[in-house]
Amino acid sequence: MSFINYSSREIILKIVFYGPGLSGKTTNIKFIYAATNPDARGKLISLETKAERTLFFDFLPLSLPAIRGFKTRLHLYTVPGQLFYSASRKLIMKGADGVIFVSDSQQERFEANLIAMDDLQENLQAYGYDIEKIPFVIQYNKRDLPNVTPVEELRKALNPWGVPDFEASAAAEGGPGVFDTLKSVVKMIIRDLRNAK
Protein backbone atom coordinates (compact mmCIF):
# COMPACT_ATOMS: atom_id res chain seq x y z
CA MET A 1 0.00 0.00 0.00
CA SER A 2 1.81 3.14 -1.17
CA PHE A 3 2.49 5.74 1.49
CA ILE A 4 2.41 9.44 0.56
CA ASN A 5 3.47 12.09 3.03
CA TYR A 6 2.62 15.56 1.75
CA SER A 7 4.43 17.14 4.64
CA SER A 8 7.80 15.50 4.03
CA ARG A 9 7.10 15.21 0.25
CA GLU A 10 7.84 11.53 0.28
CA ILE A 11 6.44 8.42 -1.39
CA ILE A 12 7.27 4.99 -0.02
CA LEU A 13 6.68 1.81 -1.98
CA LYS A 14 6.95 -1.68 -0.53
CA ILE A 15 8.31 -4.44 -2.75
CA VAL A 16 8.40 -8.05 -1.61
CA PHE A 17 10.69 -10.76 -2.96
CA TYR A 18 8.89 -14.08 -2.83
CA GLY A 19 9.92 -17.58 -3.81
CA PRO A 20 10.90 -21.03 -2.56
CA GLY A 21 13.68 -21.59 -0.08
CA LEU A 22 17.19 -20.89 -1.36
CA SER A 23 15.93 -19.48 -4.66
CA GLY A 24 18.03 -16.36 -4.25
CA LYS A 25 15.73 -13.80 -2.68
CA THR A 26 18.29 -12.77 -0.08
CA THR A 27 21.07 -12.98 -2.66
CA ASN A 28 19.10 -10.56 -4.85
CA ILE A 29 18.72 -8.06 -2.04
CA LYS A 30 22.35 -8.41 -0.94
CA PHE A 31 23.47 -7.78 -4.49
CA ILE A 32 21.28 -4.70 -4.71
CA TYR A 33 22.75 -3.48 -1.43
CA ALA A 34 26.34 -4.01 -2.60
CA ALA A 35 25.77 -2.46 -6.00
CA THR A 36 23.87 0.63 -4.87
CA ASN A 37 25.49 3.96 -4.16
CA PRO A 38 25.71 4.19 -0.34
CA ASP A 39 23.92 7.55 -0.47
CA ALA A 40 20.96 5.83 -2.03
CA ARG A 41 20.50 3.00 0.42
CA GLY A 42 20.07 2.39 4.13
CA LYS A 43 21.19 -0.48 6.27
CA LEU A 44 20.42 -4.03 5.21
CA ILE A 45 18.57 -5.85 7.96
CA SER A 46 18.66 -9.64 7.80
CA LEU A 47 16.78 -11.66 10.38
CA GLU A 48 18.25 -15.08 9.77
CA THR A 49 19.04 -18.38 11.45
CA LYS A 50 22.54 -19.51 12.34
CA ALA A 51 22.58 -21.37 9.06
CA GLU A 52 21.97 -18.06 7.28
CA ARG A 53 18.47 -19.01 6.19
CA THR A 54 15.99 -16.14 6.37
CA LEU A 55 14.04 -16.49 9.59
CA PHE A 56 11.64 -13.61 9.37
CA PHE A 57 12.62 -11.11 6.69
CA ASP A 58 15.37 -9.11 5.06
CA PHE A 59 14.80 -5.40 4.70
CA LEU A 60 16.60 -2.85 2.55
CA PRO A 61 15.52 0.77 2.12
CA LEU A 62 16.51 2.49 -1.12
CA SER A 63 16.18 6.10 -2.21
CA LEU A 64 15.44 7.00 -5.78
CA PRO A 65 15.52 10.50 -7.27
CA ALA A 66 12.51 12.70 -6.66
CA ILE A 67 9.57 12.29 -8.96
CA ARG A 68 7.40 15.36 -9.42
CA GLY A 69 8.85 16.85 -6.25
CA PHE A 70 8.30 13.75 -4.14
CA LYS A 71 11.27 11.78 -2.81
CA THR A 72 10.75 8.18 -3.83
CA ARG A 73 11.78 5.48 -1.39
CA LEU A 74 11.62 1.77 -1.89
CA HIS A 75 11.30 -0.63 1.01
CA LEU A 76 12.49 -4.02 -0.19
CA TYR A 77 11.55 -7.07 1.83
CA THR A 78 12.24 -10.75 1.33
CA VAL A 79 10.13 -13.49 2.84
CA PRO A 80 11.54 -16.69 4.35
CA GLY A 81 11.24 -19.37 1.72
CA GLN A 82 11.23 -22.54 3.79
CA LEU A 83 7.78 -24.14 3.76
CA PHE A 84 7.10 -24.03 7.49
CA TYR A 85 7.48 -20.24 7.64
CA SER A 86 4.16 -19.70 5.88
CA ALA A 87 2.71 -17.59 8.69
CA SER A 88 5.66 -15.20 8.48
CA ARG A 89 5.39 -14.96 4.69
CA LYS A 90 1.82 -13.86 5.02
CA LEU A 91 2.74 -11.13 7.49
CA ILE A 92 5.51 -9.73 5.30
CA MET A 93 3.19 -9.57 2.28
CA LYS A 94 0.84 -7.13 3.97
CA GLY A 95 0.86 -3.73 2.33
CA ALA A 96 3.06 -4.79 -0.59
CA ASP A 97 2.88 -2.53 -3.63
CA GLY A 98 4.68 -4.97 -5.90
CA VAL A 99 5.98 -8.53 -5.88
CA ILE A 100 9.08 -10.11 -7.40
CA PHE A 101 8.85 -13.89 -7.59
CA VAL A 102 12.35 -15.33 -7.55
CA SER A 103 12.25 -18.83 -8.98
CA ASP A 104 15.05 -21.38 -8.77
CA SER A 105 15.94 -22.56 -12.26
CA GLN A 106 17.55 -25.80 -11.07
CA GLN A 107 15.71 -28.85 -12.35
CA GLU A 108 15.33 -30.38 -8.90
CA ARG A 109 13.58 -27.24 -7.62
CA PHE A 110 10.86 -27.15 -10.27
CA GLU A 111 8.20 -28.48 -7.90
CA ALA A 112 9.28 -26.10 -5.14
CA ASN A 113 8.70 -23.16 -7.47
CA LEU A 114 5.15 -24.31 -8.16
CA ILE A 115 4.39 -24.76 -4.46
CA ALA A 116 5.76 -21.29 -3.70
CA MET A 117 3.72 -19.73 -6.50
CA ASP A 118 0.56 -21.36 -5.16
CA ASP A 119 1.46 -20.09 -1.70
CA LEU A 120 1.93 -16.57 -3.07
CA GLN A 121 -1.45 -16.65 -4.75
CA GLU A 122 -3.09 -17.80 -1.54
CA ASN A 123 -1.52 -15.01 0.46
CA LEU A 124 -2.42 -12.41 -2.13
CA GLN A 125 -6.01 -13.62 -2.16
CA ALA A 126 -6.13 -13.45 1.62
CA TYR A 127 -5.39 -9.73 1.35
CA GLY A 128 -7.85 -9.25 -1.47
CA TYR A 129 -5.22 -8.80 -4.18
CA ASP A 130 -5.65 -10.11 -7.70
CA ILE A 131 -2.42 -11.55 -9.10
CA GLU A 132 -3.49 -10.51 -12.58
CA LYS A 133 -3.77 -6.88 -11.57
CA ILE A 134 -0.91 -6.27 -9.18
CA PRO A 135 2.59 -5.12 -10.19
CA PHE A 136 4.22 -8.53 -10.39
CA VAL A 137 7.32 -9.80 -12.16
CA ILE A 138 9.05 -13.16 -12.24
CA GLN A 139 12.74 -13.86 -12.14
CA TYR A 140 14.27 -17.13 -13.33
CA ASN A 141 17.34 -17.13 -11.14
CA LYS A 142 20.46 -19.28 -11.19
CA ARG A 143 20.64 -19.35 -14.98
CA ASP A 144 24.43 -19.68 -14.61
CA LEU A 145 24.16 -23.20 -13.15
CA PRO A 146 24.51 -26.24 -15.42
CA ASN A 147 21.39 -28.22 -14.43
CA VAL A 148 18.69 -25.70 -15.20
CA THR A 149 15.22 -26.09 -16.65
CA PRO A 150 14.78 -24.27 -19.97
CA VAL A 151 13.24 -20.85 -19.53
CA GLU A 152 10.33 -21.70 -21.80
CA GLU A 153 9.38 -24.58 -19.57
CA LEU A 154 9.62 -22.44 -16.44
CA ARG A 155 7.65 -19.69 -18.11
CA LYS A 156 4.90 -22.11 -19.10
CA ALA A 157 4.63 -23.41 -15.56
CA LEU A 158 5.07 -20.19 -13.60
CA ASN A 159 3.86 -17.39 -15.83
CA PRO A 160 0.49 -18.16 -17.35
CA TRP A 161 -0.38 -14.48 -16.98
CA GLY A 162 2.42 -13.27 -19.23
CA VAL A 163 3.83 -10.83 -16.68
CA PRO A 164 7.31 -9.43 -17.31
CA ASP A 165 9.93 -12.05 -16.56
CA PHE A 166 13.69 -11.98 -16.43
CA GLU A 167 16.57 -14.40 -16.48
CA ALA A 168 19.04 -13.75 -13.71
CA SER A 169 22.08 -15.03 -11.92
CA ALA A 170 22.04 -13.10 -8.65
CA ALA A 171 25.08 -14.90 -7.23
CA ALA A 172 27.20 -14.46 -10.34
CA GLU A 173 29.63 -11.62 -11.04
CA GLY A 174 27.65 -8.51 -11.87
CA GLY A 175 24.33 -10.07 -10.76
CA PRO A 176 22.83 -10.09 -14.28
CA GLY A 177 19.09 -9.65 -14.27
CA VAL A 178 18.77 -8.43 -10.69
CA PHE A 179 18.35 -4.74 -11.40
CA ASP A 180 16.32 -5.33 -14.53
CA THR A 181 13.83 -7.25 -12.40
CA LEU A 182 13.66 -4.57 -9.73
CA LYS A 183 13.36 -1.68 -12.18
CA SER A 184 10.58 -3.46 -14.00
CA VAL A 185 8.40 -3.88 -10.93
CA VAL A 186 9.04 -0.31 -9.75
CA LYS A 187 8.00 1.05 -13.14
CA MET A 188 4.87 -1.09 -13.04
CA ILE A 189 3.98 0.21 -9.58
CA ILE A 190 4.41 3.84 -10.55
CA ARG A 191 2.50 3.42 -13.81
CA ASP A 192 -0.29 1.77 -11.86
CA LEU A 193 -0.35 4.65 -9.40
CA ARG A 194 -0.39 7.13 -12.25
CA ASN A 195 -3.29 5.41 -13.92
CA ALA A 196 -5.30 4.87 -10.76
CA LYS A 197 -8.61 6.69 -10.51
Partner: protein, 161 residues
Protein backbone atom coordinates in the same frame (compact mmCIF):
# COMPACT_ATOMS: atom_id res chain seq x y z
CA UNK B 1 -2.73 -2.75 -4.69
CA UNK B 2 -3.91 0.79 -5.46
CA UNK B 3 -5.14 1.97 -2.04
CA UNK B 4 -2.87 4.64 -0.61
CA UNK B 5 -2.02 5.92 2.82
CA UNK B 6 -1.80 9.70 2.69
CA UNK B 7 -0.55 12.02 5.39
CA UNK B 8 -1.40 15.70 4.97
CA UNK B 9 0.56 18.60 6.41
CA UNK B 10 -2.08 19.66 8.89
CA UNK B 11 -2.51 16.20 10.37
CA UNK B 12 1.26 15.64 10.29
CA UNK B 13 1.67 18.76 12.44
CA UNK B 14 -0.99 17.58 14.85
CA UNK B 15 0.52 14.12 15.12
CA UNK B 16 3.95 15.61 15.73
CA UNK B 17 2.46 17.86 18.39
CA UNK B 18 0.97 14.93 20.29
CA UNK B 19 4.20 12.94 20.05
CA UNK B 20 6.36 15.84 21.19
CA UNK B 21 4.09 16.40 24.18
CA UNK B 22 4.20 12.69 24.95
CA UNK B 23 8.01 12.75 24.84
CA UNK B 24 8.04 15.63 27.30
CA UNK B 25 5.36 14.28 29.64
CA UNK B 26 6.71 10.74 29.75
CA UNK B 27 10.37 11.83 30.00
CA UNK B 28 11.08 9.55 27.06
CA UNK B 29 14.27 9.57 25.01
CA UNK B 30 12.49 9.12 21.71
CA UNK B 31 9.03 8.56 20.29
CA UNK B 32 8.18 6.91 16.99
CA UNK B 33 4.78 6.82 15.40
CA UNK B 34 4.58 4.34 12.51
CA UNK B 35 2.06 2.63 10.37
CA UNK B 36 1.86 -1.15 10.53
CA UNK B 37 3.77 -1.43 7.25
CA UNK B 38 6.82 0.01 8.97
CA UNK B 39 6.67 3.54 7.58
CA UNK B 40 7.57 6.33 9.96
CA UNK B 41 5.06 9.08 10.43
CA UNK B 42 6.70 10.87 13.35
CA UNK B 43 10.14 10.47 14.89
CA UNK B 44 10.88 12.84 17.73
CA UNK B 45 13.36 13.16 20.60
CA UNK B 46 16.90 11.82 20.65
CA UNK B 47 16.69 10.18 17.23
CA UNK B 48 19.91 11.40 15.61
CA UNK B 49 21.90 8.32 16.62
CA UNK B 50 19.19 5.82 15.79
CA UNK B 51 18.75 4.16 12.40
CA UNK B 52 15.10 5.11 12.34
CA UNK B 53 14.24 3.32 9.09
CA UNK B 54 15.57 0.02 10.39
CA UNK B 55 13.91 0.55 13.74
CA UNK B 56 10.56 1.17 12.09
CA UNK B 57 10.69 -1.97 9.96
CA UNK B 58 11.75 -4.11 12.94
CA UNK B 59 9.09 -2.65 15.24
CA UNK B 60 6.45 -3.27 12.57
CA UNK B 61 7.70 -6.81 12.08
CA UNK B 62 7.63 -7.41 15.83
CA UNK B 63 4.13 -6.01 16.10
CA UNK B 64 2.93 -8.13 13.19
CA UNK B 65 4.44 -11.30 14.65
CA UNK B 66 3.01 -10.55 18.09
CA UNK B 67 -0.45 -9.90 16.66
CA UNK B 68 -0.32 -13.27 14.95
CA UNK B 69 0.76 -14.92 18.19
CA UNK B 70 -2.17 -13.31 19.96
CA UNK B 71 -4.65 -14.67 17.44
CA UNK B 72 -3.03 -18.10 17.64
CA UNK B 73 -3.68 -18.07 21.38
CA UNK B 74 -7.26 -16.92 20.98
CA UNK B 75 -6.60 -13.33 21.95
CA UNK B 76 -7.76 -10.49 19.75
CA UNK B 77 -4.45 -8.68 20.14
CA UNK B 78 -1.48 -8.18 22.42
CA UNK B 79 -1.67 -4.41 22.18
CA UNK B 80 1.31 -3.61 24.37
CA UNK B 81 4.82 -5.03 24.42
CA UNK B 82 7.64 -3.96 26.65
CA UNK B 83 11.33 -4.71 26.23
CA UNK B 84 13.65 -3.98 29.12
CA UNK B 85 17.30 -3.29 28.40
CA UNK B 86 20.35 -2.49 30.44
CA UNK B 87 20.15 1.19 29.65
CA UNK B 88 17.13 1.76 27.42
CA UNK B 89 13.69 0.27 27.37
CA UNK B 90 11.24 0.00 24.52
CA UNK B 91 7.49 0.27 24.94
CA UNK B 92 5.45 -0.64 21.85
CA UNK B 93 1.71 -0.13 21.69
CA UNK B 94 -0.82 -0.59 18.93
CA UNK B 95 -2.82 2.55 18.18
CA UNK B 96 -6.06 1.81 16.37
CA UNK B 97 -6.17 -0.65 13.51
CA UNK B 98 -3.18 0.61 11.55
CA UNK B 99 -0.60 2.36 13.72
CA UNK B 100 2.10 1.68 16.25
CA UNK B 101 3.60 3.92 18.90
CA UNK B 102 7.12 3.09 20.06
CA UNK B 103 8.59 4.83 23.10
CA UNK B 104 12.26 4.56 24.05
CA UNK B 105 12.95 5.55 27.63
CA UNK B 106 15.72 5.17 30.16
CA UNK B 107 16.08 5.54 33.93
CA UNK B 108 14.85 9.13 33.76
CA UNK B 109 11.37 7.75 33.31
CA UNK B 110 9.44 4.66 34.40
CA UNK B 111 7.21 2.05 32.82
CA UNK B 112 4.23 3.25 34.83
CA UNK B 113 4.65 6.85 33.68
CA UNK B 114 5.13 5.83 30.06
CA UNK B 115 2.03 3.62 30.12
CA UNK B 116 -0.06 6.37 31.62
CA UNK B 117 1.07 9.00 29.13
CA UNK B 118 0.85 6.62 26.16
CA UNK B 119 -2.78 5.88 26.97
CA UNK B 120 -3.69 9.55 26.84
CA UNK B 121 -1.63 10.22 23.74
CA UNK B 122 -3.13 7.21 21.97
CA UNK B 123 -6.62 8.59 22.43
CA UNK B 124 -5.52 11.89 20.92
CA UNK B 125 -3.74 10.18 18.04
CA UNK B 126 -6.81 8.11 17.28
CA UNK B 127 -8.92 11.23 16.92
CA UNK B 128 -6.45 12.62 14.42
CA UNK B 129 -6.38 9.35 12.49
CA UNK B 130 -10.15 9.38 12.20
CA UNK B 131 -10.02 12.86 10.67
CA UNK B 132 -7.18 11.74 8.43
CA UNK B 133 -9.18 8.77 7.19
CA UNK B 134 -12.00 11.10 6.23
CA UNK B 135 -9.65 13.38 4.35
CA UNK B 136 -7.96 10.42 2.71
CA UNK B 137 -11.20 9.15 1.28
CA UNK B 138 -11.87 12.61 -0.13
CA UNK B 139 -8.33 12.72 -1.54
CA UNK B 140 -8.55 9.43 -3.40
CA UNK B 141 -9.74 11.41 -6.40
CA UNK B 142 -6.63 13.62 -6.29
CA UNK B 143 -3.81 11.67 -7.83
CA UNK B 144 -0.37 13.17 -7.18
CA UNK B 145 1.03 10.68 -9.71
CA UNK B 146 -1.20 11.72 -12.59
CA UNK B 147 1.35 14.09 -14.14
CA UNK B 148 4.21 11.57 -14.13
CA UNK B 149 5.56 10.79 -17.59
CA UNK B 150 7.30 7.67 -18.86
CA UNK B 151 10.46 9.73 -19.05
CA UNK B 152 10.14 10.60 -15.35
CA UNK B 153 9.89 6.89 -14.58
CA UNK B 154 12.86 5.95 -16.76
CA UNK B 155 14.98 8.69 -15.19
CA UNK B 156 14.43 7.25 -11.72
CA UNK B 157 17.24 4.77 -12.20
CA UNK B 158 19.81 6.81 -14.02
CA UNK B 159 22.01 7.87 -11.08
CA UNK B 160 21.83 5.50 -8.19
CA UNK B 161 22.31 2.03 -9.66
Amino acid sequence: MNPRIVIFEEEQRQLEGVCKKLAKDSLARAIFLLDKNGQIIVATGEVAEIDTTSLASLVAGTAAATSSLARLLGEEEFPVHFHEGQRDNLHISIVGPEHILAVIFDQRSSLGLVRLRVKKASDQLLEIFVKLAERQSEDQGNNVFSEITDEDIDNLFSDSF
